[in-house]
């Protein structure tokens, strides 16, 4: 919206003198720069003359760019392409859908056969994108188009460097706020023959690119030029399978001073001989969301005083967050430990958490229950109100000591209000004939709501449920579901929680029978279905 010509003076009734130079400038500006402000009263004689002859005319091209964008954003890319062929004026105007998204689905929907030859499919994609963009280039380096989003999601390598370079230049010239270049190969193991595309960072930084607010890069190579000034207004950065040296990553984070959200997945560092550390002593003042998954680093050490949400896993050996006193939500996933037998697994995890001040905690763990464990953690989680554990359980426990770690955790979280324990037992669960051992503990004075899924007859599970039922003095509701709702996968975006239940597909009734979930339901009813719990307990 061009509000430059609208001032409060106008509202108070001071009319512009009819032949002032300002009006003349606005009139010329209208013709050559396609900017039109409706407070310009000089153009009205022209318009009303036209009106008298042609009542059905609607000079859409004279509207302020913001309003035209509004109309165009409601049309599809193809419909807008149709509008570019209406007349010379329309072609020259270079209008475009404000969100340009190019994926496999954009061009290869109905009319293409499964073109197995990758190279020709790539060439076709590139040609189609170029066909859409070519009319919008008024000169090789400038365009009048204004974009909100420019997204390319297709597997391409360094071979197509020239084309991709041009696309990036186009998107920055069009003042796109969100640029995504996701070149991840499909399937994930396939590597393009010529190597990864190297992003020309110099084209993304500098004064011309002050509009870029969000950058999403996948399967590319980032090399910082010597005089890199940062991407000034970048607020959100996402890197998937990006090759970048740790030092370059450090410089990148320090130079983008307004960065609020950082999401790094599968960080691949060129130097794999030794695992490096990402240590940034300077404050990252604006950083609020930090997600690091599968980053092969020895350690990260960051100073982010305004960090609100942190997601990480055990690919990193050590995590140090300095001064993150506002951290309210943390998610930790354990992948590597799944393969090794680790004593006191829960302890290790809890000690690794960079701060005990979180309010909401999500954990994805794998436990080997046949190893006797003891819990020694003493740190209290005094702010914890919500706890969600996705637990892969394997092994045959000799006793219920594996459960004591969780009992300990509950007792160290005195203000816990909601607990979700989702279990995925691996292996055949035999109903244990041993007598139920009671678990003693201290009262849990704030626990209101408990949800357990994947309830099974493994020794310890029912004991844990009884412990909660017996010690949670203000418990309002406990739901026990014997169906395994967790997914088999080990990535944190697959962490199950009750509010995201509709994103997960439950096992079929046949699978439920085969994996003993129906038997587990009977077991739950038998051992937990006591009269005293009937008001709060629901067995699904």
């Amino acid at each position: 919206m061009n509000s430059a010509a609208v001032s409060s003076d106008d509202f108070l009734g001071k009319a512009l003198p009819s032949k002032s130079p300002l009006c003349l400038y606005l009139f010329i500006a209208d013709t050559y720069m396609h900017q039109f402000t409706l407070m310009d009263k000089q153009s009205s004689p022209e318009r009303s003359a036209k009106d008298k002859n042609d009542l059905s005319s609607m000079e859409l091209q004279l509207l302020p760019p913001g309003v035209l964008q509004d109309i165009l954003s409601r049309l599809s890319i193809k419909e807008i392409l149709r509008m570019t062929v209406l007349s010379r004026e329309w072609r020259r105007k270079g209008i475009c859908h404000p969100d340009l998204v190019f994926t496999e689905g954009t061009f290869f929907c109905s009319n293409t056969t499964m073109n197995t030859h990758r190279a020709s499919r790539n060439a076709e994609f590139i040609t189609e994108v170029d066909n859409v963009l070519r009319p919008l280039w008024s000169t090789p380096t400038t365009t009048t188009t204004m974009l909100d989003k420019f997204v390319v999601r297709f597997s391409l390598g360094r071979k197509y460097k020239n084309h991709i370079d041009r696309w990036i230049s186009f998107s920055t010239a069009s003042k796109a706020k969100h640029i995504a270049l996701d070149l991840r190969p499909e399937p994930a193991w396939f590597a393009p023959g010529y190597g990864k595309y190297i992003v020309p960072l110099c084209n993304l930084s500098g004064p011309n690119c002050s509009c870029v607010k969000s950058l999403d890069l996948g399967y590319v190579c980032l090399k910082l030029p010597r005089s890199f000034n940062g991407i000034t207004n970048l607020k959100k950065l996402t890197l998937h399978m990006v090759s970048i040296s740790v030092n370059d990553l450090r410089c990148l984070l320090l130079s983008c001073a307004l960065l609020e959200s950082l999401n790094i997945e599968s960080l691949l560092s060129p130097r794999r001989s030794s695992l490096e550390s990402l240590c940034i002593r300077q404050e990252l003042r604006r950083l609020q969301y930090l997600l690091m998954h599968r980053c092969d680093l020895h350690m990260i050490d960051l100073n982010a005083p305004n960090l609100i949400k942190f997601e990480f896993d055990d690919y990193m050996n050590k995590v140090v967050l300095r001064g993150s006193l506002k951290l309210s939500e943390a998610t930790f996933a354990s992948y590597r430990r799944y393969l090794t037998v680790v004593h006191d697994a829960l302890d290790c995890v809890l000690n690794e958490l960079p701060t005990a001040l979180v309010q909401r905690l999500f954990l994805q763990l794998a436990l080997e229950t046949s190893v006797r464990s003891s819990s020694k953690t003493q740190t209290s989680f005094i702010n914890l109100t919500y706890l969600n554990i996705n637990l892969h359980i394997s092994g045959y426990p000799p006793d219920i000591s594996w459960v004591m770690g969780f009992v300990n955790l509950l007792e160290l979280s005195p203000f816990l209000e909601e607990l979700e324990l989702h279990m995925h037992p691996h292996g055949y669960i035999q109903t244990d004939p041993r007598i139920m051992a009671a678990v003693q503990g201290r009262p849990l004075r704030h626990l209101r709501s408990v949800y357990m899924t994947g309830f099974c007859s493994l020794l310890g599970v029912a004991e844990l449920a009884l412990y909660i039922l017996g010690n949670a003095t203000v418990l309002e509701r406990m739901v026990v579901d014997s169906v395994v709702r967790m997914s088999y996968g080990h990535t944190t975006d697959q962490l199950y929680s009750v509010c995201r239940a509709n994103e997960f597909v439950p096992p079929s009734p046949e699978d439920q029978e085969m994996f003993g979930m129906n038997r587990a339901r009977e077991y739950a009813k038998e051992h937990l279905g006591r009269e005293e719990f009937s008001r709060i307990l629901t067995i699904l």
């Binding site: 609607m58 109309i71 409601r74 007349s87």
Partner: protein, 169 residues
């Protein structure tokens, strides 16, 4: 409908259309509907009981009166409770508002008026209507609707035919 305070204390905002016709709306309504009014009123230190007058001398009386009508209706709807029923009634009212008697010239003038005082609600509604008019039409049909002359050069036609062959010019 929010009850306007009685007596001469109600501050009004007046839009003046072509031909000097005045259309008034209460200041509260203008503050809700028009971004420009909000910003302008921020700057004004003292007005006493003066009406703020906005000159839209460019625009015919009919679109301006429709604009004021829209603003009043939106402000009233905003105060009543939100419900599916209310949303349905709003949609029906909007359809009647931009009914069959609103031709394109009037639509465009209405859009101009809304843009002048940055009445986002009405801009949104008209844009929706214009997009709806363009959707699914061939280029020739769009040219008829918008009254555009087809003045493409033969070179440009060839270019389009090769680049984007699926468009029938």
């Amino acid at each position: 409908m929010a009850a306007a305070p009685s007596g001469s204390r109600t501050r009004m905002v007046t839009l003046i259309s072509k031909g000097g016709r005045n259309f008034k709306m209460p200041e509260a309504v203008a503050l809700v509907s028009s971004r420009s009014c909000r910003e302008a009123l921020d700057y004004i230190e003292y007005r006493g009981n003066n009406t703020m007058m906005i000159k839209l001398l460019d625009i015919d009386p009919k679109p301006v009166s429709m604009l004021v009508n829209f603003c009043n209706h939106m402000a009233a709807a905003a105060t009543s409770a939100a419900s599916d029923d209310a949303a349905q009634r709003m949609r029906e009212w909007e359809e009647r508002f931009l009914g069959d008697d609103v031709d394109q010239a009037l639509l465009y003038d209405l859009l101009s008026a809304a843009i002048s005082i940055q009445a986002d609600g009405l801009i949104d509604l008209v844009c929706k209507r214009v997009a709806h008019m363009i959707k699914g039409k061939t280029p020739q049909e769009i040219r008829t609707i918008l009254g555009i002359q087809d003045d493409l050069t033969p070179d440009q036609r060839d270019e389009i035919r090769t680049d984007n062959s699926w468009i029938d010019i």
